[in-house]
Amino acid sequence: MKMLPALLALFLLAGGVCMAEIELSGEANAAIDVFPAFPYTSGRFDSPINPGNLAGIRDLNLDTDVTFRLQAVEQTGAWNLWLALDPYRMSRVLLAAASGDPVQEEAVGASLLSSDPAALSILRAEIAWYIGPSLVLRLGRQSMLTGYGYGWNPMDFAGTVKDLFDPEAELKGVDALSLQLYAGNAISVKLAGILRGDILRSDPLIAGADYADIQAAAELTASFPLLELKLSGYYDSDDAAGEDAFVPALGAGFMLDLAGVGLYGEGALLWGGRVPAPVGVSVIQRPGELLLSGLFGVEYTFASELHLIAEYFYNGQGYSLEERQLYADSLEDQFATWSYIPGEYAAMYRPGYFAKHYLLLHLGYPIYPWNTNLELSAYYSPDSGALGVMPRLELEISGSLSARAAYTGLFSLQADRYDEVGLSPFRHMIELGMTYFF
């Protein structure tokens, strides 16, 4: 009997795909991750965030994941279902920024405690009703990402926070009812009621949401020739004192095309912090004061087709030197007490969001004779001394298949700054992988 829902789902999926109006696309990834460690000792993956190598990192990992996108679009509406079968890769979990989203916090905690964590994530599950050419109503899990930044989007309050090590990755959507109104191409207004909690009932024990879980978001976009402006706002009835990781906030952004150079910026004012900060050893507290974050970026494509993005990010929710030291001490204390790192502490480890100041450089260059794209991303935190370097080479083998080689190198350029690299269980990662698009 338990097989029935699964068979029914399979039937619906297969039936849906066979229907001409529903299209299936996606990509499958397979990769070998190698973690070279110097010196090569039994404690090579030990670090404050991974004491005694609790996460079970090995020298070699085989990672596979698949994203399925089922989509149907017609004149009056659209349906989107995106599913990701993605084992929570230790390397990625420890590299990725924790969003402050409780669901992701659980995932991070579960990953650190479970030996074989894997999950089918629902990235999108939405139906859109195009009420007219200027009005769209969307219900379900949908993208709410906003802003102009490549590596960070401080004015995006509703969405899952981007991973600095893979900013172009698809992000899990937000459960919401949204209404978007367009006045030609000049003005767009989006209003959304957001439900936090497990609305899609992936876990029957915590399914659903209460009235107190309702949040609201609004976004206004105004477009002019060569200039675009955005305002965003977020409302959460329980402020920073509440239990979720969302706070009332206001944001503004712009993108200006100045003689071919793209200049953009974002600013955000938050009534409290979305993530807790250490206030003592093993004492954490969500900041209740006003926090300001901002980003400024430049984007340009040279005649050689070299594409450059450079960004500066001031992270109002980042930790000061004192807070970083307290965090490192807390990890040690928590491990001594519990013999593991609790999820709430693990989720505070947010590479790319850990300190207050960050610089990012991203270069992309197509090498046509080799059917190859070369990318180099690097970030540096002037206040903590953390440096990340990520070159990546992608070979287009066919219209459906590509292969890639990538390296991630993490370096601490300043001693005793308690930066994110010092906490990391590894400093070097080599990825050799392939992607099949369908």
Partner: protein, 253 residues
């Protein structure tokens, strides 16, 4: 003697004007098949790098002009890697929709002069306004008896008008004398001949003679891109102003 002087003065004063007029006339006639208010094309693009064919790109393009603004939208239908990727251009504003995430990103106008989807066409080249090739150029008839592949043709030099956003320094244009068909456009940047657009397979479409195959050859790298037009509609009912908007980009699957 007075008559000779009068003729010489006339040639000096009005010669260039007469030349420009006839260049305009030639270009206007050559442009005729490309003129339209709402153009839809479905085409296949194959990039040849060092002579080797890359996977064929299948693409739909929509273009029109509204309130004096040039609007164009290109949507990739295949291969799987590119399917759902789309480029929207409204004058100098350029947006890209990435298929893998559905995310839409606005790019600076510097990207316009660069390769669209790895082909030898730039975003600028692909934005067909339906106004012909010589819009925003000043014209000069350079040679009335040039030859291309043994075909007698006019050679006309197009130079961007002052203040235009055209990324080329000049375009040397070859128009076949018989039938006034474009044969070749040679694009120059910084004094160098950077690429050549050639037209083939002129066929009757909607009462006009249109090239159903054309190719852009790069002279800065060993690459050329061949486009085969599979479907072509002028004044197409598929092309509506609503398509040229960021909201429409979100609807693409």
């Amino acid at each position: 003697m007075k008559r000779t002087i009068l003729i010489l003065v006339s040639v000096v004063l009005f010669g260039p004007v007469l030349g420009a007029d006839s260049a305009r006339e030639i270009i206007d006639r050559a442009d005729e098949p490309f003129l339209g208010t709402r153009i839809y094309t479905r085409s296949e693009m194959t990039v040849y790098r060092a002579g080797e064919a890359r996977p064929t790109l299948e693409m739909e393009s929509y273009s029109m002009r509204e309130h004096g603004k040039q609007l164009s939208l290109s949507v990739y239908l295949g291969p799987a890697r590119m399917k759902g990727t789309a480029y929207l251009m409204i004058e100098n504003d350029l947006w890209v929709r990435f298929a893998s995430t559905g995310r839409i990103r606005k790019l600076s106008s510097s990207a316009k002069k660069n390769s669209a989807g790895g082909t030898d066409f730039s975003y600028y080249d692909m934005a067909d306004s339906g106004q012909g090739f010589a819009e925003e150029y000043s014209l000069q008839l350079d040679d009335e008896n040039a030859t291309i592949d043994g075909q007698r043709c006019y050679r006309i030099i197009l130079r961007p008008q002052e203040g235009s956003e055209i990324p080329y320094e000049k375009v040397v244009c070859y128009v076949r004398r018989e039938g006034y068909r474009y044969l070749e456009l040679a694009y120059y940047q910084d004094g160098a001949h950077v690429k050549t657009l050639r037209f083939f397979d002129y066929r009757n479409a909607d009462g006009r003679s249109y090239p159903f195959r054309y190719e852009m050859e790069s002279h800065t790298k060993p690459s050329r891109t061949e486009v085969v037009v599979k479907s072509l509609e002028f004044d197409s009912s598929r092309v509506e102003p609503d398509l040229f908007s960021v909201p429409y980009l979100r609807r693409i699957k």
